[in-house]
Amino acid sequence: MNFNNITSKILFFRLLSKRFSTKIPAAPVVTLENRQSPKLKVDSNTIALLERLSLVKCNNIEGVEVLEDSISFADKILHINTDNVEPLYSVLENENLSLRFDKVTQGNCQTDILKNATVTEDDYFVAPPGNIPLHEVNDNECNQSLKENEN
């Protein structure tokens, strides 16, 4: 057997292996997501409740569709087992986060604070009459059901 031939073969093999030894996965990895989640319908009571909570008028078909889409996107993860797992509220849970001393360090900034308000009177912010829930104007009859829904 030709010695040269063998070494060249080994070299070739090494090159090949070099080319394919890479640690990058060759194909996409299977995901944990649940792909077939049924599309959920949000009823009009919930939409009205959300409008009141969000204080945003968004009552149109497109808005509802986007909401339903967001919910079904979130539904993909509900099947994953999280028994005995504590919720992670902050990534700094193991850090000592100091509190400051209870001392006044700022003040005399009344003009600063009022500067960005559109309407002020004397030294006050101004708001229209309070204690009137949203929607009272247009749908009084809906309020009863809303209150039942509000949990």
Partner: protein, 671 residues
């Protein structure tokens, strides 16, 4: 030709020292660049006056005080969701269009304290909700790469797209973005610049208008790792105004030349090869992994099993925190306020409906849905638990038995998409694709850096991401720097080399060959020689053009300098005129000063005269007793008694004379 797009902090400081540039001239150039590239829409607001003032301060420190700060004369852009005192901060939203903060974000304050010059506030998706910088009230930002005018352009990535384009187009050396799910690394990757997301809590969030408090971090965009590190060194560290900063002293990061990669363990998380990932991105990933292996780093495949669900968990948490964070915008204390006055809640609702775009509104909506009492546990707590599992994946990979030091992944699934293709998808789908590789780092709070590697077939930048455990910026940035230098030299070695860099001998041989070829007749020339001739001509032409361009550039620079000088001279002249005028209107007028002096002299003479008279009069005045000294008073009293005695004696003498006369007359009569 145009060095503006390649200047680094080190180079610009050297140019200042050599007086090739001064901070004011450089800031002018950057401002000019920002205006020239206004079509890209990188800036919401170019802060010309502020930049010039900062530049003048820098110039003073550089040449007069000789106390040079680390970022003196370094031009920066700040994403428009960081508060800047007395400079409008809009978040690219109708809600804050006229909002003028009354305080500075810590990041901005620290940069200015280090000498940086603010060129402008950069564009973003409304309230940083997006991954393309396409949802801004000021219009989308356009990527400078592959830009072919109005109709054919790529997105900049987002949400800090304005900052990334500002850096890549040369309007500033570095920029600040914010990173909630990849908002700094994503545009950095698509625009071919470095994007750093520090550890959560390393850099203060004070003054950053919050999106998701538990994930937001200020991010850095720069042209290379050295600059990004320099900026990070200036802005990192504990801050009393942000309780979520890590309260340990920050050790400045040092970048070493030729950092040793041997025995460094780098993990390749297999889950990051997801469906929809571009083949070119995988190739780049493979190429760099092999390069690192050649540098003797240990590469191994690792698994982060919850990666694929991370994006859904992120979307739940994002929407929940958005719903809570956006509650502050009611139009009363600041922000947009409509004319609705039926009730407070009606005013809130109408202001918020007008002030927010549909992306923000739909996130608030969905967030409130997940937070409803009946859904709280099902969605919100579930997401928080999954967040722990995702963070635990990282913990295990970095601290477990088979641990690695860093992770190498792609930053985005492809190069920059065309605007038309991108906006055809809904915002959530855009983010789900764009943020796939970047948001896990935010979920776990770990640091990450996006490094531009090479160009795709369509000549757009491709980037990779390095992630490390908490507070591992020192290692992370050193390895990133190593990748940066290795890939650059690797790419350079494949390019044609200019003759000047060849050894002397080679140059001589080439010259000889070229001369010989020149002497040969045309019909004897082989195709190689012909192409040589052609390239010679082309190179001559190019050289000439280059010289012309250089001269033109110099000319414009000189022109700006001349203009500045003229302005300065005009100012001086004005001042001179002003002072002359004021002098003329004054009395005495300098022209008749002699007369004035004469008058004055006369006056003085008359004064002297009256003075003399006065002294004369004074001397004639009797002095009251009380003023006289005591000795004198005693003498005076003695004098008085003597006078009295003298009078008495005289009377007596008179008496004696009288009696003598009387006696004489009496005697005569008797006789």
């Amino acid at each position: 030709m145009n060095k503006l797009t390649s200047f680094t902090i080190k180079e610009v400081h050297k140019a200042y020292r050599d007086k090739l540039l001064t901070p004011t001239s450089f800031v002018d150039l950057c401002l000019q660049k920002a205006k020239q590239t206004s079509e890209l829409n990188a800036f919401v607001n170019v802060t010309e006056d502020v930049a010039e003032n900062h530049a003048i301060d820098s110039e003073k420190r550089f040449y007069i005080d000789k106390k040079i700060k680390p970022l003196d004369g370094v031009t920066i852009a700040i994403k428009d969701n960081f508060c800047t005192k007395n400079i409008t901060t809009t978040c690219a939203s109708e809600m804050l269009r006229n909002f003028v903060p009354t305080y500075d974000a810590t990041v901005y304050a620290k940069l200015i304290k280090s000498g940086a010059c603010l060129i402008g506030k950069s564009n973003l998706d409304e309230f940083a909700m997006g991954s393309g910088t396409v949802d801004s009230i000021f219009g989308p930002t356009r990527n400078s790469w592959g830009y072919n005018g109005e109709t054919d352009w790529r997105i900049a990535g987002g949400s800090s797209g304005g900052s990334a384009v500002a850096v890549s187009s040369g309007a500033c050396i570095a920029a600040i973005g914010s990173d909630t799910g990849g908002s700094t690394r994503n545009p950095a990757a698509l625009c071919g610049v470095v994007g750093v997301k520090p550890t959560y809590g390393l850099v203060s969030r004070y003054g950053l208008i919050p999106l998701v408090n538990s994930m937001d971090v200020p991010g850095i965009l720069a042209r290379n790792i050295d600059d990004a590190t320099e900026i990070l060194n200036c802005i990192a560290g504990p801050d009393n105004l942000d309780s979520t900063t890590i309260k340990r002293k920050f050790q400045p990061i040092e970048i070493q030349e030729n950092f040793d990669l041997s025995n460094l363990r780098i993990g390749i998380p297999s889950e990051y090869h997801c469906e929809g990932m571009n083949e070119e991105v995988i190739d780049t990933w493979r190429w760099v992994a092999d390069l690192l292996e050649n540098e003797k780093a240990l590469l191994k495949t690792v698994s982060l099993p919850h990666t694929s669900v991370s994006i859904a968990v992120y979307s739940i948490l994002n929407q929940c925190e958005v719903a809570s964070n956006m509650a502050r915008y009611d139009g009363l204390e600041f922000g947009l306020r409509t004319n609705e006055d039926y009730s407070t809640e009606e005013l809130y609702a109408s202001s918020r409906s007008q002030g927010f775009n549909n992306v923000v509104r739909s996130r608030i909506f969905a967030g409130n849905y997940f937070l409803l009492t009946r859904n709280y546990e099902k969605y919100f707590l579930k997401a928080l638990k999954l967040r722990r599992l995702i963070a635990n994946d990282f913990n295990f990979v970095f601290n477990g038995d088979n641990r690695v030091d860093l992770l190498l992944t792609p930053t985005t699934l492809s190069d920059a998409p065309l605007y038309g293709d991108f906006v055809s998808k809904h915002n959530r789908d855009q983010c789900a694709l764009q943020d796939y590789c970047t948001q896990p780092a935010n979920m776990a709070g770990i640091p990450a850096v996006s490094i531009p590697i090479r160009l795709s077939k369509s000549n757009l930048p491709l980037s990779l991401q390095l992630m490390g455990p908490n507070m591992s910026e020192q290692l992370l940035l050193n390895v990133a720097k190593r990748i940066e230098t290795t890939t650059t030299t690797e790419i350079l070695s494949k390019l044609n080399i200019s003759i000047d860099t060849l050894p002397q001998k080679c140059q001589e041989i080439l010259k000889l060959a070229a001369c010989n070829q020149l002497e040969v007749d045309i019909d004897q020339l082989d195709p190689v020689a012909i192409s040589l001739q052609q390239s010679l001509q082309i190179s001559r032409k190019l050289n000439e053009e280059y010289e012309i361009l250089k001269l033109k550039q110099k000319n414009t620079e000189l022109q700006t300098q001349i203009d500045r000088n003229r302005k300065f001279l005009d100012g001086l002249r004005n001042e001179l005129n002003c002072s002359r005028n004021s002098l003329a209107s004054q009395t005495p007028n300098p022209e008749n000063i002699q007369d004035h002096i004469k008058q004055m002299k006369q006056k003085v003479a008359s004064y002297e005269e009256s003075c003399k008279k006065a002294t004369m009069k004074f001397s004639k005045l009797s002095v009251p007793d009380s003023v006289l000294p005591k000795a004198l008073q005693a003498q005076l009293s003695v004098l008085n008694t003597l006078h009295e005695e003298a009078v008495a004696w005289r009377q007596r003498a008179d008496d004696v004379v009288f009696t003598r006369d009387a006696r004489d007359t009496f005697n005569r009569l008797r006789r």
